[in-house]
């Protein structure tokens, strides 16, 4: 019986020790995850561990590749950190990679980050030393964050003020900003103005040429006046000319005159607007606050456009008229000659 007791005690010891060894064993297996895989070590030297502990994760490009094996205090300013890395990443971490101590989130664990260098170096081998980059520690980080926060709040206050002013309609920009139709109208007005003035210039040049041609006795008119061989022809065509001058040219001239007046008037208004603009009161102030002026300007521009359009039509008609055909042909020839 006593022997039996001794046997159960022996078995008890065996079982207890077995369980303890098993537990410790799997604890170590759990800790050293790659017990059976290939592993290698890298070192780095840092001035401050920032709370890094043995067993903390090592990350490369954001993935866990190993863990910290030892942290050793070498002297008053240098710590030696040895990390054990998974053999699978061996080819990827190069000798110029940079180790830095960081945080896994704001309240997370401290980790060791390895960032790639420029990638020209050879892969790091077992026992190589990586350069370290000292990161601000969490408290500093939080301080900086605090400062940034203060600045941000100042900035946002200013922004708030501006926004408030904008809403209240103070200043010049707000007006422009607020009235979108005005802006569009203004834009198209300016376009029209530009086109109109271009057309006007062409028109005036043409007119000058015609008048010059007539006075020199050249061109159709001159030809007609000097050609005496064809009085009948002239006679026959007097009616045509009359009707042409009265029916066609007359309205053209009248239109031209009216256009000119309107251009002058709008030019006046434009000039004053420009002056205002120059004085710094802004276009908006003048053009846009006064909606009637804007409407006028728009009307003017439209008229101008209409006028030039009909003038062009008239000119085209004149070109095709036999009386003026010669003049135009000649002119074309002269142009050709000049080009050659």
């Amino acid at each position: 019986m006593a022997k039996e007791v001794r046997n159960t005690v022996r078995l008890g010891i065996f079982v207890t020790v077995g369980i303890v060894l098993f537990t410790v064993g799997i604890y170590y297996i759990g800790n050293r995850k790659n017990l059976f895989g290939e592993r290698y070590r890298l070192e780095t030297y840092v001035p401050n561990a920032h709370g890094l502990k043995v067993g903390n994760n090592v990350r490369y490009a954001g993935i866990v590749v190993g863990s910290i094996e030892t942290i050793q205090l070498l002297n008053d300013t240098t710590l030696r950190v040895v990390m054990v890395l998974d053999g699978q990443v061996k080819g990827h971490i190069r000798k110029d990679a940079i180790a830095s101590i960081g945080m896994d989130g704001l309240v997370g664990n401290v980790i060791l980050n390895i960032s790639p260098g420029n990638g020209n170096e050879l892969p790091a081998e077992d026992g190589d030393v990586l350069t370290s980059f000292s990161r601000i520690d969490p408290t500093e980080m939080l301080n900086t964050l605090g400062n940034t926060n203060d600045n941000l709040s100042l900035l946002s206050n200013k922004l708030l003020e501006i926004a408030k002013k904008l809403n209240d309609g103070q200043g010049t920009i707000p007006l422009l900003l607020r009235d979108s139709t005005m802006a569009i109208a203004f834009g198209s007005s300016l376009d029209n103005l530009q086109a109109a003035s271009g057309d006007l210039r062409l028109l005036i040049a043409d007119l000058r040429d015609i008048v010059a041609g007539v006075s020199e006795g050249e061109g159709t008119l001159g030809y007609l006046l000097t050609d005496q061989a064809l009085p009948q022809k002239l006679e026959a065509f007097t009616d045509h000319l009359d009707s042409l001058l009265v029916d066609e040219f007359g309205p053209v001239i009248a239109e031209l005159q009216r256009t000119g007046e309107e251009v002058a008037r709008s030019g006046e208004e434009l000039r004053s607007a420009m002056e205002d603009l120059n004085r710094g009161e802004g276009v908006a102030e003048v053009l846009l606050r006064d909606s009637t002026a804007a409407a006028d300007l728009k009307a003017i521009l439209e008229n101008l456009e209409e006028g030039t359009a009909s003038f062009n039509e008239n000119m085209e008609a004149m070109k095709h008229n036999f009386l003026f055909r010669r003049y135009f042909k000649k002119q074309a020839k002269e142009e050709e000659k000049a080009e050659n």
Binding site: V5, N7, T8, V9, R10, L11, G12, I13, F14, V15, T16, I19, F22, T23, I26, Y27, I29, G30, K33, V107
Partner: protein, 260 residues
């Protein structure tokens, strides 16, 4: 063991008990796989151990879910992580709280009732009576109870998990604004078989430990009514202690598998 030096007495008793429990466990596995099998008794014990513990386990699971959620909520809100509540509760309930709390409740209820029942059967010679009437009492009493505990504890754990999560949902729904579907979608999105399987396997071992210790203490209860009481008491104490040892080992093993 009498006449031993006093300081070693406790240690010796511990090792002696460990050895005896080991033998008992070995005998359980030997007998469990050897016919004849007591299916009817297994069914009856499963009913007693499983079904009759249901109310207790459900109630504690419900309260655990409520309390756990209520306690965690303020902290999570502080971190602005209120939306993580369902997944966090889900994982912690399924992985740890459900199995361990349910197992402890079962150790209290099943362990003590097995300990007391077998203890009183031992004391009133019912076990001897079975033996002399040609029925193997170990097979009839121990194997069926341990197997029933092994089978029922995981089921109870799953039920406690479900009820606990439902209670947590109630809190989330009343205090916050989480719908049933959202809550359980979040819970199940974050649960993996890697969470459920280790905890279920763990529950099997919890059941084994509860059943074995209860049976061992009852089966070898000392004579007299005091023996019954101490059998029930020790069954609970030892089983509870063993649960944590198993839990530790299970977590360590599960950790290895998580890494793979």
């Amino acid at each position: 063991m009498s006449g031993e030096k006093e300081p070693y007495r406790g240690l010796l008793t511990f090792f002696d008990e460990t050895g005896k429990v080991s033998l008992f466990t070995a005998r359980f596995f030997r007998e469990a796989f050897r016919p004849p099998f007591e299916f009817r008794e297994l069914l009856r014990q499963s009913y007693i151990i499983g079904y009759q513990s249901l109310f207790l386990v459900a109630t504690t699971g419900f309260i655990m879910g409520l309390v756990f959620d209520l306690q965690t909520r303020p902290t999570m809100i502080e971190f602005g992580a209120e939306s993580y509540m369902p997944s966090m509760i889900g994982i912690s309930f399924v992985r740890e709280i459900g199995p361990v709390v349910t197992a402890l409740i079962c150790a209290g209820k099943i362990g003590s009732s097995i300990g007391a029942e077998l203890g009183s059967m031992r004391v009133t010679e019912q076990i001897d009576a079975m033996e002399v009437s040609g029925t193997n009492p170990f097979k009839f009493l121990v194997v069926t109870r341990v197997l029933a505990a092994m089978l029922m504890v995981p089921v109870l754990v799953l039920i406690a998990d479900a009820i606990g999560l439902f209670a947590a949902f109630l809190v989330e729904n009343l205090k916050g604004d989480v719908t049933f579907r959202l809550f359980f979608n979040q819970v199940f999105n974050n649960l993996e078989f890697g969470d459920l399987i280790p905890s279920t396997v763990k529950s099997f071992f919890f059941g084994l430990a509860i059943g074995l210790i209860g049976c061992y203490k009852g089966y070898y209860a000392a004579r007299g009514t005091a023996g019954v009481g101490s059998a029930a008491n020790q069954a609970v104490v030892v089983a509870s202690l063993l649960l944590f040892v198993i839990d530790l080992i299970a977590v360590l093993i599960a950790d290895i598998f998580y890494e793979l």
